[in-house]
């Protein structure tokens, strides 16, 4: 088990995030002063209706987008003022991504796709961790296949392994099961949960799915660019009820 739990600082600490798209009359306020703290070793789910700003929030937290105002600290480093190269290097070290579309490189084998973040950063994988990870995601016998020879679920497993392989400070996943059938979704969610439990991997997951949110240690509810509610671990039923009462459909 990883010892990240003992860290004092929050791995992600965002304050007063405002994000405005466009100007003047047509301006869209995607985020209107959002503050988030993500503690290590937790699986956090972000829920909310379409257009509520979930993806925007996640992109800003992950250093892919910059807020109009506000601050984001990753592992204590203020990222909103970093230059592109510095930010890119920070992402290498601290952040892992799981996308809705798997975004694998078609010419690379599953193994090479998984190792890609390490290859790019020019670091060597820890073979023990790699083997363990591959076992965990159940791809041991598929490593030499190319994405076109893998099923959707398998491709998403590769994407998850790719996000985990560099042991980032935090993994962001935007609707990781949005593109999969319900059975495969269940497997993928279990996998993400176990990566939090077994590796202590801090994870933030945007989802529409109450079943997915029910696996999280904490659920944030976003509506119209603001966090309207926050709960601890809840079951599917409780979550659906909250959505209902807050009218977050």
């Amino acid at each position: 088990m990883e010892g990240t739990v003992t860290q004092v600082v929050e791995v992600v600490d965002a304050k007063d995030l405002v994000r405005v798209y466009g100007e003047g009359d047509t301006a869209v306020h995607a985020l209107r002063g959002v503050g988030v703290r993500i503690e290590p070793g937790q699986l956090t789910a972000v829920m909310g209706p379409s257009g509520s700003g979930k993806s925007t929030l996640m992109h800003i937290l992950a250093g892919l987008d910059r807020p109009t105002s506000g601050s984001v600290k990753i592992d204590g480093i203020e990222i909103t003022t970093l230059g592109d190269d510095a930010l890119t290097k920070l992402r290498r070290q601290h952040i892992g991504f799981i996308f809705q579309f798997f975004n694998l490189l078609p010419m690379l084998t599953a193994r090479d796709n998984i190792l890609l973040p390490l290859t790019i950063a020019g670091t060597k994988p820890d073979p023990e961790f790699f083997d363990n990870l591959v076992d965990r995601v159940g791809l041991a016998d598929r490593l030499e296949h190319r994405p076109s020879e893998l099923s959707g679920g398998q491709q998403q497993r590769v994407a998850i392994a790719r996000a985990l392989v560099s042991r980032p400070t935090v993994v962001f996943a935007d609707e990781p099961t949005g593109n999969l059938d319900s059975r495969t979704s269940g497997e993928i969610l279990k996998l993400m949960r176990s990566s939090v439990d077994e590796y202590g991997q801090t994870t933030v997951m945007v989802t529409h799915d109450a079943k997915a949110a029910a696996m999280a240690d904490r659920v944030l509810y976003l509506a119209d660019g603001e966090i309207v509610k926050e709960t601890g671990r809840s079951n599917q039923h409780e979550i659906l009820q909250i959505i209902d009462t807050l009218d977050l459909q």
Partner: protein, 885 residues
Amino acid sequence: MIKFALQGLLARKLRTALTAIGVVLGVALISGTYVLTDSITSAFDSIFTQNYKNTDAAITGKNAIDASEDGTVPAPPFDAGLLAKVRGLPQVGAAGGAVSGEAQLIGKDGKSIVFGGAPNLGFSVDPTLPQFNSLTLVSGAWPAGDQVVIDTKTAKEKGFTTGDTIGVQARGAAEKMKISGLVEFGAVSSIGGATLAGFDLGTAQRLFDKTGKLDQILIATKSGTSEQQMLDAVRQILPTATQVRTADEQAKEDAAGTSSFLSFLQTFLLVFGGIALFVGSFVIANSLSITIAQRTREFATLRTLGASRRQILSTVVLEALVTGFVAAVAGLFLGLAIATGLFKLFDAVGFTLPNNGLVFRTRTIVVALIVGVVVTVLASLRPAWRATRVPPIAAVREGATLAPGRLNRYRPVGAALLAAGGIALVLVGLFADGLSTKTLLTLLGAGVLLLFIGIALFSSRLVRPLATVADPIARWSVVVLTALIWPFVLVPLWLVRRLFGRRTEFPGVLPDGPAVAIGGQNSRRDPHRTASTAAALMIGLALVTLVATLGAGLIRPFEQAVDGIFSADYAITAQNNFSPLPPPVAAEVAKVPGVQKVTSVRGGQAKAFGKTITITAVDPQAPELLTFDWRSGSQASLGELGTDGAIVDASYADTHALVLGSRFPMQTATGKTLQLQVKGVFRPPAGGSPFGNVTISTATFDATTSQPLNIYTFVNMSGGVTAANTATLNDALSTFPNAKALTRDEFKKAQTDSIKSILNVLYVLLALSVLVSLFGIVNTLVLTVFERTRELGMLRAIGLTRGQVKKMIRQESVITALIGAVIGIALGLLLASLLAARLDEISFTIPVAQLVIFAVVSVVVGIFAAIWPARRAAKLDPLEALQYE
């Protein structure tokens, strides 16, 4: 559907423009060629018409044989007494006599004045008959005896004015003359850089060694008489070896030499325009296939909405039609710029062409438009057909791609067959006997074309292995090139950026392992695409390699030929290294103290066995300075040719069954028939023979030639080649500023330099095709970046920096270029080896240094091609890239 096609084009403006660049450049070269040659033709026409503006007929000397225009056999002058007889005719209103020839003007620095490679025209002027005078007096007066008028351009550029003295040299030694005035030719200040010198008739006759003779009589008909009556009357009194022509005929005759040169130039340049277009068509076909693959969804959606295959086909073809038309129009106008550029280019290589303003004929427009549109549409057919194969179901499938065509299985076989067919055509063209030049060239052209297409189609099979090999080469050659420009370009650039407060990384040299590795993998990802992109460059490189190899193959045997034949210390040549020189030059050299032996080779033409042939003449000193490879006869016979002796080359002897002692008649240009006896048969060297088919004695040659000229003069001096001897010789030649003394090595180099400058012109023209292929690579990369937007976003998100993105794309580009280079160089060598096997003049020599340069140039092409696409890719916002769908 038309609206749809046009909207599609507008939506993809940039991609469409990139696709069309190949056509634009090819059409530009074609239209440029027409504009250039039309402009030259019109300039010459105006010159030649100007000559005869008030003339109805012209009498000139006539060669007994039909000599070709190489300057060695001008029409002989005739007796001046004819002028008085012509004037005496009642049908003749006015008649004027004139002589002309080469007249060198000598600058204040003692060097002869030459602009580019243009001629130095000298002629007599008769101010009493202004109607026949094509010169216009700008200032000063017409020349009296031993005076000269010169053209305003020479005067201005070399600092002469009326009243100055200027050196003039024609057949004899240079002499000083007073400039009585400045002239222009009609209203033209310069005829293609030629210098003009006008003298009074007596002076001109003396200078040109034509005392008591005339080259031309210009006649105006008496008013009231018809031209025909006048011509008939003149014909009555014409002596032999003269002829009368109407002014129109004479102008046409004068222009004949230039127009055959111009039509050669035109064909020559059109070939290169065609090559650029051919390369361009590859670029178009490739870009269209990529675009169509990317638009699979779009076509499928159209199909689900009810569009028929025919409609899809016509959409794509229509897009190509519009693109081709727009590109052709752009190329047409770019052609004007190219024509101007070509004028400058020829000027720069010492070959000034006359230019009276650019001529833009309808034919140019029609041909350019048709060619541009047809090439584009032809190139679009295959991709368009592929577009029709998109099934409607592809609309609903995520990441649907074009299924390989049904015929795809046969593609390698078909490609190999095409290439083999191409080689077969080339072989037939080269080795079948008795083909006309035209058939031969057609066979070679078609064969090479097929070969290129076949190899281009086949090469997708070669991409994976070649790319694997090219990967580390690309990596390290980029490192080396970067290291080379690092201190001069990259570091200063970085400093400047820093000064302006921009944050940039300090430029590194070492390759970025991961980025370059992904780039390498990308190049192997779609072998068809990489192969067709590389194919465009392959064609350019194959041709450049062919030219370089043939050039090297020509120069070596040529040098061996020079070494084998000439054993002299020095050679005397014209300043331009090839113009023949008048005999007094050699006579002057013979007088120089220290000169042991001088021998000159005269050159001319004659007619034997019913055909005009080149002939040469040697003097009694020849055996000591010239060495022949004898089949029969000996060195000694060279000096003992006497009045009827002849030496013939081996192949001429074989053709006409000549052996030692055979007799045959030969008619000279002046009309005399010589009864010759074969005194020797020699084998010409492989590198080309400097001797004519028949060689006779100088004495016999001079007795039957109106104005003999030396094509070579060789000198041996006591002490051999020394600085002192060189100085002495050049001193002696100061009265002949057009002549210079070259040591044996300089002579060899001067002769090969002319081959090299021709090679350079070819390189420049082929560079255009390489440029087109560079755009092809740019095009593919831009389309690829577009296609891989989301993938690039992912890579940026998981930690690829902008710099790494650029390096990744550059690696793919350089690998593609190297693949093109390798296949192209191999093909070029193959073609060169076939040609060398056929032609004795060429030995197959691999020009290693040049090939290395070409490979490096290819890498540079790859680097340059990547600059812009890489920037676009690096600028992509990872977010937008991820959201792109």
